[in-house]
């Protein structure tokens, strides 16, 4: 008998991804969708495996979405974003300085040290650095390469950048908007925002052409999940959303522009 199990690929950025996807698997099974998942340590291998057909749908970071899209285009394939979290829409990143700093604009940071997250973090590195580049401000970039390959999912790099800012070893730090207050609650307060990036979207559920028919049922079930449902609410809490939304690709222009300017994934795509 043919195996019609739908396979999802996800990156293990935290131990909680196991109970998350175990929980979703059980929830899908109760609703008649055979489902399984494969974990990867990094998005690059996930995108390759997805294109190869080892998984049917990939829970991709925004950078992984762009990698998938460009790789698909190169090989005559088509990539679609079929769903995303409500919390994946309209994010911004912020450039922080110490409260008592005299810096009030990006231009004031010319030649100074700017702490960013991991090299492949769209929110804490790539997008904020685009702001500096487009403003014509050259800075000394101080990276905090925590768990490279996970595209900044871990946020450890951002936290280290803020610690460095407060310790005075960098003059500014770049983080996703919500982490300024989150880190302040951890005792890393005393920062001021001097720049807010344009809005951008974050993760999405990516499929390539040729995905099995059960993808439609998977999407339907995702969009049907209700925060009021006590069975699924703990999973939504762990995954950081209140509701799944239809996928959209209108929110990736800023990251696409950054990747083009910095050549972030050019060599990677060229080699495949």
């Amino acid at each position: 008998m043919a195996d019609d199990t739908l396979i999802l690929g996800a990156v293990a950025y935290d131990a909680k991804v196991v109970p998350i996807w175990d929980g979703f698997q059980a929830w899908f099974a109760k609703r008649g969708l055979p489902f399984d998942y494969v974990l990867f340590t990094n998005y690059e291998r996930q995108v390759e495996a997805h294109l190869r057909g080892d998984v049917h749908v990939a829970w991709n970071s925004p950078l992984a979405w762009i990698q998938a899209q460009q790789l698909a285009r190169k090989h005559g394939r088509d990539a679609q974003a079929i769903a995303m979290r409500d919390t994946d829409r309209d994010l911004t990143s912020v450039v922080l300085v110490r409260e008592d700093s005299k810096v009030s604009s990006l231009a004031d940071l010319r030649g100074k040290r700017v702490g960013v997250g991991a090299a492949d973090s769209p929110q804490a590195t790539i997008i904020p650095l685009l702001s500096f580049a487009e403003a014509g401000v050259e800075v000394e970039v101080v990276r905090h390469d925590v768990l490279v390959g996970k595209h900044g999912d871990h946020i450890g790099g951002e936290r280290d950048a803020v610690k460095a800012l407060l310790a005075g070893t960098v003059d500014a730090a770049c983080v996703i908007d919500g982490n300024r207050v989150a880190f302040a609650r951890e005792g890393l307060g005393g920062t001021r925002v001097i720049h807010v990036t344009p809005k951008y979207d974050h993760c999405n559920m990516t499929v390539f052409d040729g995905a099995p028919p059960s993808i439609a049922r998977f999407r339907e079930l995702l969009l049907s999940m209700s925060y009021d449902d006590p069975e699924v609410r703990p999973l939504l809490d762990m995954e950081g959303l209140k509701v799944w939304q239809p996928g959209r690709t209108s929110g990736y222009a800023v990251l696409e522009r950054a990747c083009e300017r910095f050549g972030t994934i050019r060599d990677w795509v060229a080699a495949r």
Binding site: D90, T92, G178, R180, A184, R233, K242, V243
Partner: protein, 162 residues
Amino acid sequence: MTRTTVDLEDLGLDEGAHLLIKRALASSSEILVRGRSPALGSDLPAWCRALGHRCSPSGEGFSIERSPHDRWRGAERAGSFDEPADTAPARWGLAARGALVEAGAPELDLPLASKSDFWADEAARLYAQAAASQWDPAIAIPWKAPITHPEEVEDAIVQVMT
């Protein structure tokens, strides 16, 4: 209808402003938030996004529509504070009597869940009686008795006794 306005003045979300916003949203489904904190423009939309509230610029502030998602829907009280229930359902977990328990909590395996198995109405009286007849270390031990043994022996006794 006039919307409730929350004027945060210069209080930032990293300084507790979210508590004022939360309180206003508890009684109004749509509010207007104003404030002078320089980071409000990035902190507030991020806070709203995480909680599912809709946030949009409005005049000199931000309009916030309360999230339709409520984790307390379906929550129930773990019996009454005054009197223990005859049986405690597993879904109450280890909640204190009368506490509000969110729906969907894991059901622990707690075999002692019936009042008749282990509850005694006079337990409090028995405890008070036992406590009253317990020896008082302040009186029973001669704390002022002189220490005549060597310091090393005292140190060893202290270590063993603690």
